[in-house]
Symmetry: C2
């Protein structure tokens, strides 16, 4: 029995950070509720996406990648929000990048039709889930391989299903994450791929430069990837024309674009970049990288504006037990804390007009599971029940704390609820 009211289409009534729902509601049923953040219509803490800023960032990155004549496959693991995948695809993205079989399944169920799983596919059920999707002729799917063992496992599974699987060989560096370290490992994988051609088809080369920390090593790694790709093209190793080459997390996409642009590929290779965090951006390590990019990359320099933070976690002031010490209702359950703590950005007193920027010296000093500590100055005008919007660092580990995020317009009206599938 198929029910049209599946979890896929409903906003559950028991999620944190939404307005009050008496029962699960469809997206259509959400319209016209007139929820406004500043009217306290959301239960705080709440994760709030600013529509205009999201759209700005979306356009910015698409223009950047377009300027290089490359393809954008935003890493969807950051948000795991099909509503945002839709916006990215409609904005010109080539496909969506994902990290696990589960994530691919969530995207496929929401209509995404081209996925690069920037990861190895391992395990019986994970392979079966992907095979079920690959059986859909409308669905174009790629994953990575970096060992003959994995190639052989994939070949056995997909052979049995009578299906073909498209893969990219992953290049890696010693001490890095996955990926073949050297030509000898690469040869093992290519040998295994040759034996399984027609079942597991080599379509390109992939790397993740973010395992390295300095620009020089990253450029050298990218140069190696270009050389390997050129060689494999020349050897006729690829089952796809053009072949694919893919790299780029959210920190070094400019360097990846610059180096891949130098590849002697001609029309033989299609270049796919995969940043994911640009959509909401942050005020942490990605902002630091963005400043570097705006200064050093000629394309970014010409674009005048940069990425802007587009996600706030809003929380109430819960207690001011000491004159300079504030406890807010936001903790490790609500925001990433692995790459800098959330930073207070705007303050709003219910009943007031508009949020105001907070003093630069206000600072989050600690997050517990459900609480945050804020350092202010004695005498600052702050009281229990006031609302504070926090900028975050590391979007990936912030999104995964929310099943629903509120998308608001410039008047703080909730125009949509964005579901996530972590």
């Amino acid at each position: 029995m198929k029910s049209p009211r599946t979890e896929r289409h409903l906003i559950g009534a028991l999620n944190k950070g939404t307005g009050q729902l008496e029962q699960d509601a469809s997206a259509e049923e959400m319209e016209g509720r007139g929820w406004n953040l500043l009217h306290e219509d959301l239960s705080l803490p709440a994760a709030v996406l600013y529509r205009d800023k999201i759209e700005h960032n979306l356009r910015w990155m698409q223009r950047f990648i377009d300027a290089y004549g490359m393809k954008l496959a935003p890493h969807g693991k950051t948000t795991m929000a099909p509503r945002l995948f839709d916006m990215q695809l409609q904005g010109g993205a080539w496909g969506i990048t994902l990290a696990t079989a589960h994530q691919v399944r969530a995207a496929h169920a929401h209509g995404v039709r081209r996925v690069l799983m920037a990861n190895q596919l391992v395990g019986k059920l994970n392979m079966r889930m992907i095979a079920d999707m690959v059986a859909d002729p409308e669905f174009e799917f790629y994953c990575l391989v970096d060992s003959a063992a994995n190639v052989n496992q994939l070949a056995a599974h997909f052979q049995q299903r009578g299906l073909r699987l498209k893969v990219l060989v992953e290049l890696g560096v010693v001490g890095g994450r996955c990926g073949v370290r050297d030509d000898s490992q690469l040869k093992d994988v290519l040998d295994a791929l040759r034996r399984s051609r027609g079942v597991v088809d080599l379509c390109g080369v992939e790397l993740y430069e973010g395992v390295l920390k300095d620009e020089e090593s990253i450029r050298a790694f990218l140069t190696r990837a270009c050389e390997v790709t050129e060689r494999l093209v020349a050897e006729g190793q690829f089952a796809r024309t053009p072949a694919l080459i893919s790299g780029a997390g959210s920190a070094w996409y400019d360097v990846v674009a610059e180096e891949f642009a130098r590849g002697a590929f001609g029309d033989a290779v299609e270049i796919v970049l995969r940043p994911g965090c640009y959509l909401t951006h942050d005020v942490g390590s990605y902002e630091t990288q963005q400043q570097r990019i705006l200064q050093s990359n000629p394309v970014a320099r010409e674009m005048r504006s940069g990425l802007v933070p587009a996600l706030h976690i809003w929380a109430y002031v819960q207690s001011i037990p000491e004159p300079d010490f504030v406890v807010v209702g936001m903790g490790r359950r609500d925001a990433a804390f692995d790459s800098g703590l959330p930073r207070p950005a705007v303050h709003f007193r219910p009943g007031g007009a508009l949020p105001r920027e907070v003093p630069a010296y206000w600072e989050t000093t600690k997050l517990m599971d459900q609480h945050g500590y804020l350092k202010i100055a004695p005498g600052d005008d702050l009281q229990v029940g006031d609302m504070i919007g926090f900028n975050i660092s590391h979007p990936c580990l912030t999104f995964d704390k929310w099943r629903v995020l509120a998308l608001v317009d410039e008047k703080y009206e909730v125009v949509d609820l964005v579901k996530t599938y972590f």
Copy 2:
């Protein structure tokens, strides 16, 4: 229109870590699927709860608290799993402790009828949500206050609704979290409470000793709480007979029991302890504390056994790019990392008999968002596609990464799927 197939009763088809579901399914529809972890019927990574160990821990803590003649209100924020709340309540718990209005709503919707919200209630919608539940005469609810400002806000809201709210006054320490620091702040709160008596009713005293790190300070804090409670009883400040005194996180519940047992309360005070992490336990800081408790607490010493780790994150070996360096498909998206990394516990090769303990020198050295790094010795018998079960540290920040956890029996058969409501 009420639908019986609400999100509350269904397991969504797009969750990670479950078996393959073609559509959302009710708990009843899950029975008879015969999923077994060792048959690779779950998509890894998956969070696996061991039923026998969960039940052991549940009985252990209830017996410990019973031995002191106190009440157990397990902190439900740890698991946010109504299925586990049920087990705790049926096992003898007095009620469930929670941290936010949203959490209370999720518990209430699943039939929990006594809640201690060990937190301040702040904000218009949060108050409205709680007021809606307090209007249910079957529902017994307490929250904390630590400022006259908050008392006055609560009084205004609940007065308007024609409802009464039961509160405990929270005691705190300088540099700690919430809670009145001294008698002067306490007096302000009590004055505000006196003005709003009949609307906001003082029913007891609360503290969270876990903001302190050494036993001596904790015992002093607990002594202060006993003295304050005795004094307020003598002054007739409480609207509840017996009054409540409550403390205890998952690290110092033994010390709290010992000190509260010394209180000169007689029948005038009911003592409520609130550990939450005991249900799954861990191999991190809570295990360290448990060793201390088993050595130093006379009741625990007599109980012969202790708490046992009851939660594993299972992941596949995804790549072995260097002889002693393994990448597994489990990352910061799947396990807590703020209090020690997950530790490899058991290894299983699909098709084999039973999982075996891993060598003691295997070690998780790093977690990225979706990957974990494992250090082994060259030549160890491990291959791509093998499964590893990891013990975790910090249950709270592990549970919140999973919408569904698999409850398995001693044969690794999935006997239930446990939904969470973060």
